[in-house]
Amino acid sequence: MPNAHDVLFKTLADPTRRAIFERLCRDGEQTVAALTARAKVSQPAVSKHLAALKQAGLVRDRHEGRQTHYSAQLRALTPLVDWTRRLAGFWEARFDDLEDLLRRMDQ
C-alpha cells in the first residue's frame, strides 16, 4: 500500500501543481480553461497536473457540458496534518521523559 504521506508530498512537491491546488483551495471550483488562464503553463500541462492531483485524491472533477470543473478535496490533506501531529506528540512524550529525568538528577 503506498504511503499516504509519500503520495501527498510527491504530488504537491511540484510548485506549478501546488499553485494550481492552492488556487482551487482559495477560489473554489474552476474549469481547466480558467486555471490555464492564470497559470504559466499550457492547457495540456495544467490537465496533466490536475490528473496527478486527482489521482492523489486532492481534487475532484465534475463534467458539465463540454467543460470539466475541478474542486479541491481538502480532506485529502488530513494525513499530512496527522503526521505532523504525531511528530509533535513524539516530542511531547520525550519532554515528559526529560522532565522525569530532571526530577531524578542531582542538582
Binding site: 504511503n3 504521506h5 508530498f9 510548485p15 496534518v81 503526521w83 511528530l87 516530542w91 519532554f95 522525569d100
Partner: protein, 143 residues
C-alpha cells in the same frame, strides 16, 4: 512562497520546565542522560561530530552536530534512511533554552521534512511552511 525564511515545514514543541538551563543542558548533551529520555547514542557536543540515535524499535537515525552554544542552543541533523523511500526523513532538530523566572523555557523545532525522494524534498523546501500554515486552518473550516 520561496522565501528562505519559510521554505521548510517544521514542528515546534515548547514547554516551561522548572529547572535551570544548565541542568537541562546536561540532559540534552550527556549520552547516558540522553539515553534516558531520548535514545541510545554516541553524541558529543562538538560541531561536525557524527553520531547515531538508536531507537528501541530498531531504527537508527544518522545525525551530525550543527550548532552548540552551551545552555542556549543545540542543533543536529536528524536523518533516517530506510530501504522504503517512503520512510526516508531528512530534517534538523534544534533545541533552544531560554531562562525564565521559574526555570527554563525549552523549545524544540524539527524542520526540513523530506519524507521521500529528493524531488519531494525540493518541494518541501520550496514552500511547505506556507502550505502547512494553511492546512489546519483550512481543515478546521471544513470539519
Amino acid at each position: 512562497m520561496t522565501n528562505a525564511a519559510t521554505d521548510t515545514l517544521s514542528v515546534v514543541v515548547e514547554r516551561d520546565i522548572p529547572f535551570p538551563a544548565e541542568k537541562i543542558w546536561r540532559a540534552l548533551t550527556q549520552p547516558h542522560l540522553m539515553e534516558e529520555w531520548l535514545m541510545k547514542n554516541d553524541f558529543k557536543p562538538v560541531v561536525g561530530h557524527s553520531f547515531n540515535l538508536r531507537g528501541e524499535w530498531g531504527g537508527v537515525l544518522d545525525c551530525e552536530v550543527l550548532a552548540v552554544e552551551p545552555n542556549k542552543t543545540l542543533s543536529y541533523t536528524w536523518n533516517h534512511t530506510h530501504e522504503d523511500a517512503a520512510y526516508n526523513l531528512k530534517s534538523v532538530v534544534t533545541f533552544t533554552l531560554t531562562p525564565t523566572s521559574s526555570g527554563t523555557h525549552l523549545r524544540v523545532e524539527q524542520s526540513g521534512f523530506a519524507p521521500t525522494q529528493r524531488q519531494a524534498y525540493g518541494g518541501a523546501r520550496a514552500g511547505w511552511q506556507n502550505m502547512f500554515a494553511k492546512l489546519e486552518e483550512v481543515l478546521a473550516r471544513t470539519e
